[in-house]
Assembly symmetry: C2
Homo-oligomer: 146 residues x 2
């Protein structure tokens, strides 16, 4: 199973905020049209980003802005904000290994640490990329159209 598209959608949201923020008000409808999903999905994701302190959403009047420079917002920040993993664990462990079996009783102990290391390697890599990196690439495509 894959990691939910909430993650790529959230990054898309930030990209729109940066590219269009000066010329347009960034509403959930505006975002929904670029991302091509339902505005309510966007609003849920905006809520999560707001709860994580990454953005501010103007209630009533509408519009969204980042709370800090986008070169200080990493993929990891977004990943945490949109709450992709249940219990924060990447791997789904089979729930009820047999406690009367020597292997079943100890499989968790023998695996958990290593699974966390694997998850940790992924999360460390996520910290290396920022929203600014993505926006820079998009802007390159805009200024040098093929």
């Amino acid at each position: 199973m894959q990691i939910s598209s909430r993650f790529t959608i959230a990054i898309h949201v930030f990209a729109c905020m940066e590219v269009f923020g000066e010329d347009y008000k960034i509403t959930s409808d505006f975002l929904a049209s670029s991302i091509n999903v339902n505005p309510v999905i966007i609003r849920k994701i905006l809520s999560q980003l707001r709860n994580a302190g990454l953005i501010e959403v103007a209630r009533g009047t509408g519009g969204t802005t980042a709370t800090r420079p986008i070169d200080e917002i990493t993929f990891y920040d977004v990943y945490l904000a949109v709450d992709l993993l249940e219990e924060g664990e990447l791997f789904h462990f089979h729930e009820n290994p047999n406690p009367n079996c020597p292997v079943g009783k100890n499989i968790h102990t023998a695996l958990d640490d290593r699974l966390l290391h694997i998850q940790g390697a992924m999360e460390q890599e996520m910290k290396k990329y920022t929203i600014a990196d993505v926006v820079n690439d998009i802007k390159k495509c805009l200024t040098v159209p093929k």
Copy 2:
């Protein structure tokens, strides 16, 4: 969303083969009882491991054995065998960004490379651990009961 329990189940399978292989015939029923899932689930996973060349399954008579020493079977081998990700991609991208929007048109280009690097970091870490590591830890628990 989490990665399917097929992965931890498959590792559990190998651990049972190693720990019990000399004293018992490792059938899908035997495994199902230690892992505590349905035998048909086990048989599907065994099929995948067999297709990947990691094990041999004795048809008719029953029983399962690894095709090579377990210190040469990494988590990554198992991960590939049980086919956890659709299209091999860890991240689910929102399907239809608006091609008429400058951001929507280019978001894929700007993101794909970085997502692959993140996935790659996870997969590289998976190559560091073998079934033997897990079995050693389990055996420690057995010989030195608390």
